[in-house]
């Protein structure tokens, strides 16, 4: 690898509440990504995810001239050149993947956001959930645990519902006890899960409606991997959501793109 090529690799690190993501871009193309669990130490998570990513891409730290950190733990990445919010980075990431995108729904571990982009890919407006886990990945995690379903299987279960149930509580804690009552009432797991997805989707749809989301809309964040949740959101919003392979890493990809512009 010559120096010129080395100079064109940029990194983005997204420290989320549940997972830490890192991405590398080279010559304006995605080179590699990596995801680990954040755990209780966001500082260490930043170091670990970056080291693992460098190893994956077979490069060393000196090959990366600029790093941007993002996510709730963005300030704990001391080796980053700049910290930017995940809203800015998800906007940039989505625009990098598809410059047609005007709306983004990002559902992560503890936050859900709806973002509007202008034709230049800049954030025009945004709405964010308000210190409550309803409509976030954490809500789904709590429910998966109550139902003894692996988190990554939740989506498929939800899609196989024949008669989706309705969860009326907004609060995660109350919703969990509602789900437990449904389990005790011997309701089909698939139907309960479909109800859970719809309940979470309803919270996220409020954010999207608040900013009058514009099509085409991309869904990003870890929860985009849950097909049942994507379907529930599409139904609530009455539109098709674009979900790409690296939806979870989208914030880190955006951060890497922004690093290339530093």
């Amino acid at each position: 690898m010559n120096n010129k090529e080395r100079g064109s690799i940029y990194a983005g690190i997204d420290i989320g509440s549940i997972t830490a993501k890192a991405a590398l871009i080279k010559d304006n193309r995605l080179l590699a990504t990596h995801v680990i669990l954040t755990g209780y130490d966001p500082i260490n998570a930043g170091i670990k995810v970056f080291e693992a990513l460098l190893k994956k891409a077979k490069i060393s730290k000196k090959d990366v001239p600029a790093i941007v950190s993002t996510g709730y733990g963005r300030a704990s990445v001391s080796f980053a050149d700049k910290a930017l919010t995940e809203i800015i980075c998800h906007g940039t990431g989505a625009y990098f993947i598809n410059p047609e995108i005007r709306g983004i729904i990002d559902v992560g571990g503890q936050d859900s956001k709806a973002i509007l982009l202008n034709a230049k890919g800049q954030v025009e407006n945004f709405a964010m959930n308000d210190k409550c886990a309803a409509g976030t990945g954490r809500f789904l995690e709590v429910m998966a645990k109550a139902l003894e379903v692996e988190l990554n299987q939740l989506g498929d279960f939800g899609l196989n519902a024949d008669k989706p149930l309705k969860i009326s509580s907004i609060c995660t804690v109350f919703a969990e006890s509602e789900v437990i009552s449904m389990i005790a009432g011997q309701q089909k797991r698939e139907n309960i899960i479909a109800g859970i997805h719809d309940s979470a989707a309803a919270r996220v749809a409020i954010l999207a409606n608040k900013i009058k989301i514009k099509k085409p809309v991309m869904m990003t964040g870890g929860v985009a991997k849950n097909k049942g949740m994507v379907a529930a959101l599409e139904k609530r919003l009455g539109l098709t959501l674009i979900v790409k392979d690296f939806a979870q890493e989208n914030g880190a990809i955006g951060a890497a793109v922004l690093a290339s512009k530093l």
Binding site: Y72, L84, T85, E86, I87, I88, D111, Q122, V123, E124, N125, F126, M128, D130, K131
Partner: protein, 370 residues
């Protein structure tokens, strides 16, 4: 600056300020709203002190108030019931929002303070009858204070008091104007401390400190930086961390219409033959609160002019959760500001719960956006 530090230290513990005032001896009358006629309280020989929400957990107030009451009302009641406001000799409740009025009822029945008054101000402020009514209400309040003070309040007492508060208002306005001319000349948290301190400390001391701060700030120059000029709209803000978080994100507050900010100190009491008429005139003519009415668009026009005058890049609506009057006005205010091409952000706050991570994300994104 030494004078600013005095304000910062003082607001750390209001009970220390209170004990110094009581040692004089002087009685303390608390109030929750910027429509409280402080000049009258002071002229009666009492110390008017603004009350803020509790920073402690709400436990006892829960027995009296519903969960949908704002954190100010719940917090002040909590402090009162748990004895943290035992330095108060009395309280005055100007007629404003429903929650404060109902708090007034609970207070009257549960408070252990010597003096209590409801000052039932007019709701509609832009009529001649409102002017007459306001004067009558203030006269009635004056009589109540005279009974409590066991002495007459003379016109000389009133004019002396008016002069004192006008002087504080003029100097606070100067500090705000300097921050707007030279953004960053004073840290947001310091500005917060000065304004809050002016609402709780001895007006004589405040009157001595403020002109020194103004003179010092006039001499200082700040390097021109690329900062975003922000105007804040809302009711109360009792958290210096909000100013600090906004500054960390690259924004500087250059103006506000807060009840604990410019709305409280804006406009001086005019010269008039009758001091009560003069006090009434200021209360009627200053920036209005959403619980009052001047015209259907008064608040919008005021906010637009405030934003334009200060060349604001953005307006942040800082609303206290469950504050209905402000929430009711928000859509039209947002529309009025956005029509001028100025972007807005809505933050809902609660005095007892603050999520600094989410707040930083919102502020940083908004600053980048504008």
């Amino acid at each position: 600056m030494k004078e600013i530090n005095i304000f910062c230290d003082a607001i750390k513990d209001v009970s220390i300020i209170a004990s110094k005032i009581k040692a004089r001896p002087k009685k303390i009358i608390g109030y929750l709203c910027s429509y409280a006629p402080e000049e009258l309280i002071y002229a009666a020989g009492f110390h008017p002190m603004r009350l803020f929400s509790s920073k402690s957990e709400i436990m006892m107030a829960e027995q009296h108030l519903q969960a949908y009451c704002c954190s100010l009302v719940r917090g002040v009641l909590e402090d009162s019931l748990s004895g943290r406001l035992s330095f108060l000799d009395g309280t005055v409740f100007p007629h404003t929002c429903d929650s404060i009025q109902r708090l007034s009822d609970i207070w009257r029945m549960n408070g252990k303070y010597e003096f209590f008054a409801d000052v039932v101000l007019p709701a509609k402020l832009n009529t001649q009858s409102a002017r007459t009514y306001m004067t009558d209400v203030l006269n009635k309040f004056k009589q109540a204070l005279e009974i409590a003070a066991e002495r007459k309040i003379t016109n000389t007492d009133l004019w002396e008091s008016i002069k004192k508060f006008n002087f504080i208002r003029k100097n606070l306005s100067k500090i705000y104007a300097l921050q707007s001319q030279k953004p960053g000349i004073i840290k947001g948290a310091d500005l917060f401390a000065i304004v809050k301190g002016s609402m709780v400390m001895d007006p004589d001391e405040v009157g001595q400190l403020l002109p020194v701060i103004v003179a010092n700030l006039e001499k200082i120059d700040v390097p021109k930086k690329n900062v975003k000029r922000i105007v804040v709209s809302g009711s109360i803000c009792d958290s210096p961390d909000i100013y600090t978080a906004l500054e960390a994100a690259g924004g500087i507050i250059v103006g506000d219409d807060l009840c604990t900010g410019q709305r409280w100190f804006e406009g001086e009491i005019p010269d008039d033959e009758n001091p009560i008429n003069a006090i009434a005139a200021r209360l009627l003519d200053r920036m209005i609160c959403p619980a009052k009415h001047a015209s259907p668009t008064a608040r919008g026009e005021n906010l637009v002019s405030l934003a334009k005058k200060n060349n604001a890049h953005g307006v942040i609506f800082m609303l206290v959760k469950f504050c209905d009057p402000h929430a009711f006005d928000y859509p039209y205010l947002k529309e009025a500001i956005e029509k001028e091409g100025i972007k807005t952000l809505l933050i809902e706050m609660d005095d007892q719960q603050q999520n600094s991570g989410q707040l930083a994300t919102r502020f940083e994104t908004f600053i980048q956006m504008i």
